[in-house]
């Protein structure tokens, strides 16, 4: 499949790539993550709410991690404080993992596609 510059006014679209399987796999993944239909029942509403709340917690958790790393690099924390902060963040990560498992959510579920801006996490 090669680019063909002839017939510029043709409205027939062409698709050209040397790696079709790779793109099919990636685009299928994108399609799978798009919302298809809204399934309104009690269980899905509960999971949807959990997903939203856990996404926000995950977002804040990552911000806290970045802030902790910045403080560690800035040299304004003692070794004991670094250890304590690291342990606290580690426990938070473990706890969030437990909650994800409880609600049947994966890491990828805890993300929001913000369109042109990219993804939340």
């Amino acid at each position: 499949m090669e680019l063909s510059p002839e017939n510029p006014l043709s409205a027939e679209p062409e698709i050209e790539t040397s790696h079709p399987e790779e793109f099919v796999e990636e685009l299928r993944y994108v399609a799978d993550t798009l919302p298809s239909r809204i399934n309104i029942d009690a269980a899905s509403v509960e999971q949807g709410l959990a997903k939203l709340v856990l996404t926000l917690i995950e977002f804040i958790r990552r911000l806290l991690e970045k802030q902790a790393v910045r403080r560690m690099e800035g040299g304004d924390l003692s070794p004991e404080q670094i250890e304590e902060l690291g342990l606290a963040l580690m426990k938070l990560e473990v706890k969030l993992q437990e909650l994800k498992t409880q609600f049947g959510l994966t890491d990828e579920d805890l993300n929001l596609d913000l369109g042109p801006i990219g993804r939340l996490i």
């Binding site: 680019l3 409205a11 679209p13 990636e26 790393v69 670094i82 342990l87 580690m90 990219g118």
Partner: protein, 238 residues
């Protein structure tokens, strides 16, 4: 009776060889002010999101692309004739401006895949990290890796932009540093520049063999329509 709206066109007063629309309905032209809208009758209140319906929608929009550049409506747009008329009359200047942008152009799409390095997970992930200091050091490594990937992704996007900036009237670019499909760009290209655009893209691919490209088009300018429609797409709800 509702109408299913496919696209808005200018300078078209008759249709020929238009395929059947959603649910096999005949597509007709509805004149509103100086514009026209491709519509078909629709009996239900919702449009099922199916491959068949999506392809029907795309086929109707594409069928006028060799004559003019349409402004496509979002899939699933159901309106009454009155709503459509009010909408167009109220937004006439904005629609004229949007037509001015896309006139004589088509959308060309470029997607770029790059191989992600596998060092973005914790090195001790197989074993338990018990030290808070080690945990933070691993996080630092992760964050640095993420920043590097973001910088690389932005470099790819900038490079791509530079390749075609003289050939495009506008562009919409999505950069996703953490994804394999790192850049997705939609370029608005004048029809007479398509051969040059394709040649430039083919040459660009040779310059960056480490990247994998998917080129497609010409498409109707879906990424540039942005008509700020207030009609809700009536997708099926189960």
């Amino acid at each position: 009776m509702k109408l299913y709206a496919y696209c808005l066109v200018e300078d078209v007063d008759a249709l020929d060889a238009i395929p059947l629309g959603i649910s096999g309905a005949a597509v007709r032209l509805l004149q509103v002010d100086e514009f026209a809208v491709l519509v078909s009758n629709f009996d239900s209140d919702t449009v099922a999101v199916t491959r068949e319906n999506a392809l029907d929608h795309a086929a109707v929009v594409r069928s006028v692309l060799d004559r003019t550049t349409p402004l496509p409506f979002r899939f699933g747009t159901l309106v009454t004739e009155q709503q459509l008329s009010i909408y167009i009359s109220a937004r006439r200047p904005a629609l004229q401006s949007r037509f001015e942008l896309v006139r004589g152009c088509v959308e060309m799409s470029v997607k770029v895949i790059r191989e992600l390095s596998s060092d973005n997970s914790m090195t001790e992930s197989q074993g338990e990290i018990t030290s808070g200091t080690t945990f933070l050091e691993e996080k630092r490594r992760e964050i640095r890796g993420g920043e590097q990937r973001a910088a690389e992704a932005n470099d790819i996007s900038t490079w791509l932009h530079e390749q075609v900036e003289n050939l495009t009237r506008d562009e919409q670019v999505t950069v996703r540093p953490s994804d394999k499909l790192v850049v997705a760009a939609a370029h608005l290209v004048a029809r007479d520049k398509i051969p040059q655009y394709k040649e430039t893209m083919a040459a660009a691919r040779e310059i960056r063999p480490e990247l994998h490209f998917l080129f497609s088009g010409p498409w109707p300018p879906y990424s540039f329509a942005n008509m700020e429609l207030e009609f809700k797409s009536q997708f099926g709800v189960s």
